[in-house]
């Protein structure tokens, strides 16, 4: 046997693991609580409960970028908001390896612990920069906010780190003291990325980061994300309705429809040989 094939492959544990995540708006009824109940899109025809997420299972491995695609209303953003504690899931579990070796369901820990996870383990970049940034505070303060939350009380250290991150995302030094409300959409998005990175989180959540940006700016933001992944070895979960973005960034992809994962696998495989009728339609409509 050639020497190269003797390598022992180590079974890697996922850094983020979602198990049977459900999120519904409404009480539910006997009909829609059955697993194979037929719904109108994601709404129960009997009790009109909206099932935004239905039994989502998902894994992200260390150092990998995972994509989630789906049309508007398929539950992509709800999924992200549940992981980042912006919304409370109805049921389900999420385990993060950097938090207590992944032994505890992060949805069931105390609010203080959730804050710690938010500040130290997860970084979030929202589609709308108004959600992720304090528009009236300077960019430096915005980036320092996460460091303060993570326990830093040294102004010089935080300023140096913020300067470093701003240059990392190509924002010139002389604009660092300016408030993000004076920035263009692309610049705001880059400040948001710098803020998310400021406490060195091992996991980054990106929710439609390039939507609404023009093509050249999109390309720069995507390049930036790739660079960050290579440089810091951060695992990422990327949500987008744009297959182009997913094709460029993600190694593995989950396809969502009406709150369910309908297909998952290597991104290339999904794009070349889609199995589910919805995925086929999605791929064929790609320009």
């Amino acid at each position: 046997m050639p020497k190269t094939l003797e390598h022992n492959f180590v079974e890697q544990a996922p850094i983020l693991r979602l198990e049977d995540l459900n999120k519904s708006y409404g009480d539910g009824c006997e009909y829609c609580s059955k697993e194979d109940a037929v719904l109108e899109k994601n709404i129960c025809p009997k009790c009109h409960t909206v099932h935004a997420l239905r039994g989502v299972n998902l894994e992200v491995y260390p150092g990998e970028i995972v994509g989630v695609v789906g049309e508007s209303g398929s539950g992509k953003s709800t999924l992200m908001q549940c992981i980042y504690f912006d919304k409370n899931p109805s049921s389900g579990a999420c385990y993060l390896t950097p938090y207590k070796e992944g032994t505890e369901n992060i949805f069931e820990v105390s609010e203080q612990e959730k804050l710690k996870i938010k500040n130290l383990i997860l970084g979030m970049v929202y589609q709308n920069p108004y959600l992720g940034l304090r528009m009236d505070f300077s960019s430096l303060s915005n980036i320092a906010e996460r460091q303060i939350a993570a326990g830093s009380r040294n102004v010089h250290e935080m300023m140096d780190r913020s300067d470093e991150l701003l240059s990392e995302v190509n924002i010139s030094k002389w604009r660092a003291k300016e408030a993000p409300k004076n920035f263009s959409g692309g610049m705001q998005q880059r400040v948001q990325i710098a803020k998310a990175l400021s406490s060195n989180p091992p996991i980054l959540l990106l929710d439609e980061v390039t939507t609404g940006l023009d093509l050249s700016v999109q390309a720069r933001v995507l390049d930036l994300i790739k660079d960050i992944m290579h440089e810091f070895n951060i695992s990422m979960l990327v949500v987008s309705h744009d297959l182009g973005v997913i094709r460029m960034l993600a190694e593995r992809t989950y396809v969502m429809l009406d709150g369910k994962v309908v297909e998952s696998g290597l991104t290339d495989q999904i794009l070349e040989d889609p199995q589910h009728p919805y995925t086929q339609q999605l791929v064929y409509s790609l320009l």
Partner: protein, 287 residues
């Protein structure tokens, strides 16, 4: 004494409710206890919180002192003092040593308080995080989760912009390593006096309907950063033009004709005592 009113103006039920809130405030130092703020014969925002605390605490043997920005003789202080004296017949003094109950607006007297005294401070904005987060429901959560990023972030933003903390008054403090508290708009000069003070300090906000407290010997630390430590106003090399005192809080007085600057004690009773001016004592049971 005008017999048309109950002793100390408020009815006994109201007094009991305010005392109950005060007791809770003493039990949880720095925590803002909601209470049913009464309509008072002075406008909300003119010291109704402090007045209600004073009226609920005062007994026939108390000796009362009321100060407004360090002055015993300002209109606001005089009117509050008159109202309390007319409805209780207690003795009122200007000398801090003799007083058992001191209601103050925006100053802590220069004379150190003792364990036999209670200081009542009038508070316009009891919420230290209000500028950072306008929603009461959210600031309550932030206090509950001990999430005080905002308090430090506000100081950080000032340092980014002006290279120093620019809080003139109302510099937030951390009480007993737990709650961040607005010390009411006392100058930074008075913040260190709160730390391990011998007297009970009660703070009342009538318009915002909150009571909070610092029990005697409570640890009180002004919010700062390692490399930008908290500092009081720089009054070195300046002394009072009347009594010559230094190391006390001074008012700056500019002569409009000559443009000449001079300084004078802000605490009038302290200054008068040093100069041997006879201080006013009025009323009391025997009068």
């Amino acid at each position: 004494m005008h017999k048309r009113y109950n002793f100390a103006f408020l009815d006994e039920g109201s007094k009991r409710e305010i005392r109950r809130a005060s007791l809770k405030a003493v039990c949880i130092p720095g925590y803002q206890v909601p209470f049913a703020s009464r309509e008072m014969p002075i406008g909300r925002g003119w010291g109704t919180g402090g007045l209600q605390l004073t009226l609920s605490l005062i007994g026939p043997n108390d000796v009362l002192k009321v100060i407004d920005q360090g002055s015993d003789a300002s209109v606001n202080a005089l009117n509050i003092k008159k109202l309390i004296a007319l409805t209780t017949n207690v003795e009122t003094v200007e000398d801090t040593h003799q007083a058992t109950l001191i209601q103050s607006r925006h100053r802590i007297p220069e004379v150190p308080l003792t364990k036999d005294q209670i200081l009542v401070l009038q508070v316009p904005t009891p919420e230290p995080l209000r500028a950072f987060e306008p929603r009461e429901a959210i600031t309550k959560k932030l206090h509950a989760h001990k999430d005080y990023t905002g308090a430090w972030l506000m100081i950080f933003e000032q340092i980014v912009k002006y290279n120093t903390a620019t809080t003139g008054a109302d510099h937030p403090v951390l009480v007993h390593d737990r709650y961040v508290m607005a010390p009411s708009p006392i100058p930074r000069f008075d913040n260190p006096k709160m730390d391990h003070n011998e007297a009970l300090i009660l703070l009342g906000a009538g318009r915002e309907k909150k009571i909070y407290a610092l029990p005697p010997y409570t640890k009180v630390k002004s919010i700062d950063f390692e490399d930008y430590p908290f500092a009081i106003e720089d009054l070195s090399n300046k002394s009072c033009r009347l009594c010559g005192a230094s190391g006390v809080y001074l008012d700056e007085i500019i002569d409009e004709n000559t443009g000449e600057r001079s300084y004078q004690c802000n605490d009038t009773s302290y200054c008068e005592a040093r100069r041997g001016v006879a201080q006013v004592v009025e009323g009391g049971q025997d009068a």
